[in-house]
Amino acid sequence: MTSLKTPSLPNRLTIAQALELLRAKQLSHQELYQALRQQISQSNDQLNVYLAQEPEAEEIAHRYADLPLKGLPLAVKDNFSTQRLVTTASSKILDAYRPPYESTVTRRLQQAGGVVLGKTNLDAWAHGSSTETSDFGRSLNPRNTEYLPGGSSGGSAAAVAADLCLGSIGSETAGSIRQPASWCGVVGLKPSYGRVSRYGVVPMGSSLDSPGPITKTVEDAALLLNAMAGHDPLDATTSPQAVPDFTRALGQSIKGFKIGVLYLDTPGLEEVAPVYHHQLQVLSELGAELEPASGLEPRLAISVYTVVQRGEVSSNLAKLDGIRYGRDRSYFGGEAKRRILLGTFTLSKGYADKYYVLAQQVRTLFVQDFERLFQRYDVLVSPSTPGYAKKIGASEGATMFGELEDMLAEPSSITGLPGVSVPCYRDEASNLYLGLNVVAPMWREDLVIQVADAFERHTPWNCWRSPDWARSAHADNNRSPNHD
């Protein structure tokens, strides 16, 4: 089914590959976990990806051998409650907190045969887009360790990029899956809000938080989403509608698709816009109809997002009152304190109407704007981020760092839409990546998977699908070297 080549090291396998090899008994759990242990011991200290690791991962994997995911090792962002491993949300307040219960996402993954190999670093409380606000130090971008992995799911994206797991789980409030995926050259899928349960996820912006997979390929994202998605009686905001088999969207033609191209003329994107224009041609070659589209100014989404999310943060963190969890509020880092203060202000009497209510009204305008766009287009595409990964230290002192980096994901985040970031270019000099964000109407993850998968299969930018891209002469010449 795929043109993937089997790498010499099992930790470099995709989920789909590993499942196939395990099924064919050409790979054992022992080989797989040994390779992972070796890779982790080699690079985790430098990359600072895992905050906690499961000591009995391999034993657990054996027990899961007959389940659909066959005991495959997954990295999970450290804001998902796990009974076996400390759950810190990268905050010192929780440095000794072991939840007495399991999040729905990790429970479902385990029931499907996934093993939580370890918990990955994030911006503290998921506040940020760099992992630099983590109380346990920043993670580094495995593609180039002078650069940041992005965030807040930076550890999960880096774990995938560095082959420290076969796939990972992140959570996105606005960009927190797609931005680090873009920066690390991996696939990040943010499902529709309400498609995946938030039960057991340390809450950030409750009306926005969407758990989703970060993986090596779009195919792997579909596989993990199948295991995660669906109504949860413990989360009233999950949708009761049936979940399709997302792998059915793989390998499908996108001929006749109408695709709107957004945000390429946004100020600040001058450098990368030509690259996107160029890379998007493959979609036309595959039979889709591309057209420049214009939506509401993404900078407006920053304002909406900032007000709504800060308000919800100030409320959600009120339970960290120093009575439980061991440590008091003085352990909050600067970013959390800023967000709590701003959120408290915008929800205050006399100001709530001016800020929170107004923001929700503008949010509705964005919903209507996308409804308008989707009357014309099947999907919308845009850059996932305004540019390549930023250097370490870039977020320090930049209080709106995340909002600017996530600007292009925010309109679809505040409207709850599904989106996927798929690698769409690699800069040879820096080895850094750009990501293409594909957005579809609510509940149409199948469409973003279909388009991103088609793009991935017909471009050389996925380093697991095209392991020998490095030997190619020039990026422009090998845009589509290995059509299926």
Binding site: Y97, P100, Y101, S103, L234, S315, L317, K319
Partner: protein, 460 residues
């Protein structure tokens, strides 16, 4: 004291909290049974402990019961409603906010008639109860412990308009509300355990002016009807003194000190809180259909006021007998069966019910109506055995009214009614007994017949 003392009118609004007795808690599957729990913190989960990642899922039954209560209190129902977060810090509130309803309660614009006048209900909303703090001395050290068994128990809050004009009326209203929630079978409304809690907003206005006063005093955590009455009465006297001296009472929160028999200040307005309400993003808005409201309306039992009115209409039952029998629903419904059975045999409802109320017939509510009627017949026949009392009363009346007897004997039949009335009054006065007028009339007629036989003149 000044000479030009004003006439003041008491202005009272009530806030009544009642815990609903649903099987599970408001936002999680934990058992809702805080009072009977054998140990603290056993009916708990990540949701009602407020753990990170716990999410509230609203209890449908609690919402329906709230709507039912609203319908029983003649409220309008919001078909679109939502839950909001109300933020404040207290150790018994694990999330740092309480899930409540801010601007769109389930029910609004209701009313309830009390003997002292109609009281408008501003709103009824649904929220979650808090945990319970226990202050104990353990190993010689003062400790505060938290029991989360009560955390997340569904709690309705009924808020009235400031229509109440006396402590007496406040008590009557609160009592009626308790009676109604018990009729609806949605709450035990146990005041002592805290299953029902009262707060009163009390102020005084100048009788001649229609506007509300520019201050109010909130009396919190009142846990008995008597204390409610006493607290309001005490506030009336306290505020009157202040007003008489030309000052305005402080806007404040006070509590009732039952031992000292006075309200005591707890918080002044300077510390007024900003709860930073906003819609709870974890709970989608609640949409009710007119069909649901219709169904809930049909499920309402006959409520006390309607019952009394129907008993009056159908059986001419006097309110003084009917009222105590309507106090509790199962008793009232049983009485309905008894009354229906009695009506089939032409038994007088008032006499029967008065016998029940005065414990002349002692039967448990629920007893087979036929047995009740049999017991009543036994009682009245034993009254006949006591015919010496009746005879004595008749003889006394006839002796006291010789003119009337003579005129009756002369053919003025209408005087029989006069003599009958006198006899019944005499029996009631002397023996404190209710009598069957029919039986007295028969005995009286017989006695008067005897009198006209020769040689047995009463006047001789």
């Amino acid at each position: 004291m000044t000479n030009n003392q004003q006439e003041y009118q008491l202005v009272v609004g009530l806030e009544i909290h009642a815990e609903l007795k649903t099987a599970s808690k408001m936002f999680c599957g934990c058992r809702n049974d805080p009072f009977a729990a054998p140990q603290p913190n056993i009916h708990t989960c990540p949701v009602c402990l407020g753990l990170l990642g716990g999410l509230p899922v609203p209890n449908k039954k609690a919402i329906e019961w709230t709507v039912k209560l609203g319908l029983a209190l003649n409220c309008q129902v919001n078909l679109f409603s939502k839950f909001d977060r109300k933020h404040y810090f207290y150790p018994d509130l694990p999330k740092g906010y309480q899930i409540s309803q801010y601007d769109i309660p389930f029910c609004y614009h209701g009313r309830l008639d009390t003997p002292q006048g109609t009281v408008k209900v501003r709103r009824i909303h649904l929220e979650e109860d808090t945990g319970k703090l226990l202050h104990k001395t353990i190993d010689g050290r003062a400790q505060s412990l938290i029991d989360f068994n009560r955390s997340g128990v569904p709690l309705v809050e009924i808020v009235t308009e400031p229509d109440i004009t006396s402590a007496d009326q406040a008590k009557a209203f609160a009592r009626q509300v308790r009676q109604i929630v018990r009729y609806l079978d949605i709450s035990n409304a146990d005041m002592e355990q805290g299953g029902m809690r009262l707060e009163a907003n009390v102020s005084m206005k100048t009788a001649s002016r229609p506007q509300l006063p520019n201050y109010k005093v909130e009396i919190k955590n009142i846990n008995s009807f008597r204390f409610l009455e006493q607290a309001i009465e005490h506030e009336r006297r306290r505020q009157r003194k202040i007003l008489d001296s030309g000052r305005t009472p402080d806007q404040s929160t006070r509590g009732w000190d039952a031992d000292a028999q006075q309200t005591v200040s707890q918080r002044s307005k300077e510390e007024a809180q900003d709860y930073r309400y906003f819609p709870d993003p974890d709970i989608p808005p609640i949409r009710l259909t007119p069909a649901t409201v219709d169904r809930l309306n049909k499920e309402l039992p006959e409520l006390p006021a309607a019952k009394l009115e129907r008993w009056q209409r159908q059986y001419q039952l006097e309110e003084r007998f009917a009222q105590p029998m309507a106090a509790e629903r199962h008793q009232a419904e049983w009485l309905d069966e008894v009354l229906a059975a009695a009506a089939r045999t032409d038994l007088p409802a008032n006499r029967l019910v008065s016998a029940l109320v005065n414990k002349k017939i002692t039967v448990e509510p629920g007893t087979d109506p036929e047995q009740v009627i049999a017991a009543y017949h036994q009682l009245t026949s034993s009254d006949e055995v006591d015919s010496t009392q009746l005879a004595a009363a008749i003889d006394q009346v006839l002796a006291d009214n010789p003119d009337a007897v003579t005129k009756y004997q002369a053919g003025q039949d209408q005087l029989l009614n006069f003599l009958l009335g006198q006899t019944i009054a005499a029996i009631k006065r002397r023996d404190k007994l209710d009598v069957d007028a029919k039986a007295v009339r028969t005995a009286l007629q017989a006695r008067l017949k005897d009198l006209i036989r020769p040689g047995r003149s009463a006047t001789s």
